[in-house]
């Protein structure tokens, strides 16, 4: 969590400095607890994970490297996307984490398919699939079709929805009409759970139970965590449409502070230790950033410019 927050603070700085960051920046400030609570249950190499845009904490816990993050943002040709896609559109499909596309909800079907194939091949075991998205994502046809199909196929899929009250500038009452978003689970024939997304402890409990059930062969589960987005939709946005009252409310509290207090209370780490982690992470991040800043971007003259993996089918004239 600390790492996620620190890393994203760095990203925000880089964005504002107007430096070499190519494209937009989307942060998950306020969501670290909820994201981490799920991420900590997943195992890279076993599970499949389709993160969306505000899951830096979960990604790190799943095993994404800091270098991968900055390489993608900076468009380094050494990154997992080789500068062909950027910012949050990053992943390593063969390591269980596909790179999202911008169309929200479309990863539900993909993670479902990964689980389907493993089961067909007899290699599913106790692996689970996890997909995250915001409450706006649940409005899409892709979400609906994907979750429905996963339910019909009874696959161990966990759909973790973050209801951060605003899809960009659109409040909940313009996004869905049901009283509680989690009630949709009934319609799909899956189990649904809701949790206070600002509370690390509560989120950990919910996710641990859900993942355990999934590993035991349960069908899809829908989890809705409520919290407030503590940043703009992207770094270009100042979210002035979020009313102060909401910001001041309990939902608007910073999950980092809550977690901090919780950790102090239980004596699991002292403030000094936490500060130590933070300082350590800052160093790691700075090191990564300075390394990546030195790396080359893509050379358009050296690119293969081939969209098909079958080299023989690519017509010569279409190559650089």
């Amino acid at each position: 969590m600390v790492l996620a927050r620190t890393l994203e603070e760095k990203l925000a700085h880089l964005y504002r400095a107007g430096g070499r960051l190519v494209g937009g920046v989307y942060l998950g400030k306020g969501q670290e607890a909820y994201s981490a609570a799920m991420g900590v249950q997943l195992q890279k190499g076993k599970d499949a994970f389709g993160p969306f845009i505000r899951d830096q904490a979960a990604r790190l816990l799943f095993g994404e490297s800091i270098l991968d993050v900055f390489r993608t943002y900076f468009g380094s040709v050494l990154g997992p996307m080789r500068a062909r896609d950027g910012n949050v559109h990053r992943g390593r499909p063969k390591e269980g984490m596909p790179a999202m596309i911008s169309h929200i909800g479309s990863m539900v079907g993909v993670i479902t398919g990964m689980l389907f194939s493993r089961r067909l091949q007899g290699t599913l075991g106790d692996a689970v699939g996890a997909v995250t998205l915001g409450e706006g994502g649940t409005s899409t046809g892709a979400f609906h079709e994907g979750l429905n199909l996963a339910a019909v196929e009874k696959l161990p899929l966990i759909v973790a929805v973050t209801n951060n009250q605003y899809s960009y500038s659109t409040p909940n009452n313009r996004q869905f009409a049901c009283k509680h978003l989690v009630d949709r689970a009934i319609g799909y024939g899956v189990d649904g759970y809701s949790v206070d997304g600002t509370d690390l402890a509560a989120s950990l409990v919910v996710f641990r139970k859900a993942v355990q059930r999934a590993r035991e062969g349960h069908g899809p589960q829908l989890i809705v965590g409520s919290l407030l987005r503590l940043t703009g939709h992207g770094e270009h946005d100042d979210s002035s449409y979020i009313p102060d009252a909401l910001r001041q409310s309990a939902m608007g509290r910073d999950c980092m502070k809550v977690a901090d207090a919780f950790v102090q209370e239980h004596g699991w780490a002292s403030p000094a230790e936490v500060e130590g982690w933070r300082a350590d992470y800052r160093l790691q991040i700075e090191a990564a950033v300075s390394q990546v800043m030195k790396e080359p971007g893509p050379d358009p003259f050296k690119e293969s410019w081939r969209a098909l993996s079958s080299a023989t089918l690519t017509e010569g004239q279409w190559e650089a």
Partner: protein, 411 residues
């Protein structure tokens, strides 16, 4: 007082520009409304530009002799406040300079979803451009007898043929055009005829004549009395060929008016540097044209030997490689073949060719002795490039040549 620009107006359909000829109102001059202030020349006429209102001429930017496009700013003109508004200059004009869309970093209220962070992007709003100059003419129909398809063109290029060679081919395509099938059939049918190779000389002459005929050529003719020349020739030793008399006469006539031998290249007339005249010599399967240099400066007697030598060399295909400038006109004495008149074709690099026909004894009425007397008459024909010379000029040139030929001893 406010000032307005004086812009080059649209002076007629398809006029794109005009040349400043005269500034009628100098800077500082008080001018009345609708008074002529400039005189400009288009390719159609000379026209005046008038003042749009009463005022005082300010700075004149245009220069006499230079060409300006429609809409160009020619001068600054001071007008009254009322006229300034009446003429429509009162509103603030839209900004047309470069405006920068700053990379929308850091929380701008109207931030675009996909903010471009790349500070290299500079957006420049260009003023809308109205096409002022006319474009290419649009062909009316890409079919019909003269249409040559890309494949035809490629095939013709391959075989070294040009449109003139296809004149005899029957076309079965739309509008009578020659299709590639017709063309290939034509080539195949040729195989059934007896064919002999065309010599390089033949090909050279063919090419030269084809190129020459891309110009508008015309011919004028006049009769000339040959007796004085024939009498002079009888007495002369060595004997100049009849063509040589014509060469000298033409040279003198041209030296009196070199523009007639000028060449039109684009929009300029290239004047001859020297009066060099060529003459046609028939050789095996073709024609060669040796050149005599500066004939206007060389009296007849002094060039006979040189002429004969050139004729000989030409006949033997031993003409020296003459890398100096080409001739400016040619004389051809086809009278030796019995031809009475003809329409010779000038060489591609020349404007003029003078032909001398065979002489015939003809009865001509003489006022002096009040009866018909026998006179040796011949036709002089002058073919010329009508772009540079008109009938009048050609006629006068011929008359002068004929006149000079009446006094051969002066040549």
């Amino acid at each position: 007082m406010p000032t307005i620009p004086i812009l080059m107006p649209q002076l007629g359909e398809s006029i794109a520009e005009a040349t400043m000829v005269r500034v009628l109102a100098l800077p500082g001059t008080i001018v009345e409304a609708n008074q002529d202030i400039f005189e400009v020349e288009t390719n159609k006429a000379t026209m005046g530009i008038i003042a749009p209102a009463a005022g005082v001429m300010g700075q004149v930017h245009a220069q006499v002799g230079s060409s300006y496009a429609v809409g160009a700013n020619l001068a600054t003109f001071e007008v009254s406040h009322e006229d300034y508004l009446v003429l429509g200059f009162g509103e603030t004009k839209p900004e047309t300079g470069p405006t920068q869309v700053a990379a929308s970093n850091g929380g701008s209220k109207d931030g675009v979803h996909f903010a471009v962070n790349d500070a290299d992007t500079i957006y420049q709003r260009q003023p809308t451009v109205e096409p002022v100059v006319g474009g290419l003419p649009v062909p009316a129909g890409a079919a019909g007898a003269s249409y040559i398809s890309p494949r035809m063109r490629a095939r013709m290029a391959e075989l070294g043929l040009n449109a003139a060679d296809l004149a005899g081919v029957a076309g079965t395509g739309a509008g009578g055009r020659v299709t590639v099938e017709d063309f290939e059939q034509f080539l195949r049918s040729l195989e059934q005829h007896r064919m002999t190779p065309a010599s390089p000389m033949r090909m050279a002459v063919a090419d030269a004549m084809r190129r020459s005929c891309t110009r508008p050529l015309a011919t004028v003719g006049a009769s000339v009395v040959l007796d004085p020349m024939l009498a002079h020739r009888k007495r002369a030793n060595p004997k100049p060929g009849p063509a040589l008399y014509a060469i000298r006469a033409l040279a003198i006539a041209l030296s009196e008016n070199t523009a007639m031998a000028g060449r039109l290249v684009g929009t300029r007339i290239v004047h001859p540097q020297a009066i060099d005249i060529g003459f046609a010599v028939e050789v095996d399967d073709g024609v060669l044209v040796p050149t005599l240099r500066e004939v206007d400066k060389t009296p007849l007697a002094t060039i006979v030997d040189r002429y004969n030598k050139l004729v000989d060399q030409a006949r033997n295909r031993r003409l020296p490689k003459d890398s100096s400038r080409p001739g400016i006109a040619t004389v051809t004495n086809f009278g030796t073949f019995g031809i009475v008149w003809a329409t010779p074709i000038p060489l591609p690099e020349q404007n003029l060719v003078l032909g001398l026909g065979a002489g015939t004894k003809s009865p001509v009425w003489s006022d002096e002795v009040n009866q018909f007397i026998p006179v040796t008459m011949a036709e002089l024909t002058l073919s010329f490039d009508h772009r540079i010379l008109d009938g009048g000029g050609a006629g006068r040139l011929l008359a002068r040549v004929g006149q000079l030929l009446q006094q051969p001893e002066k040549l």
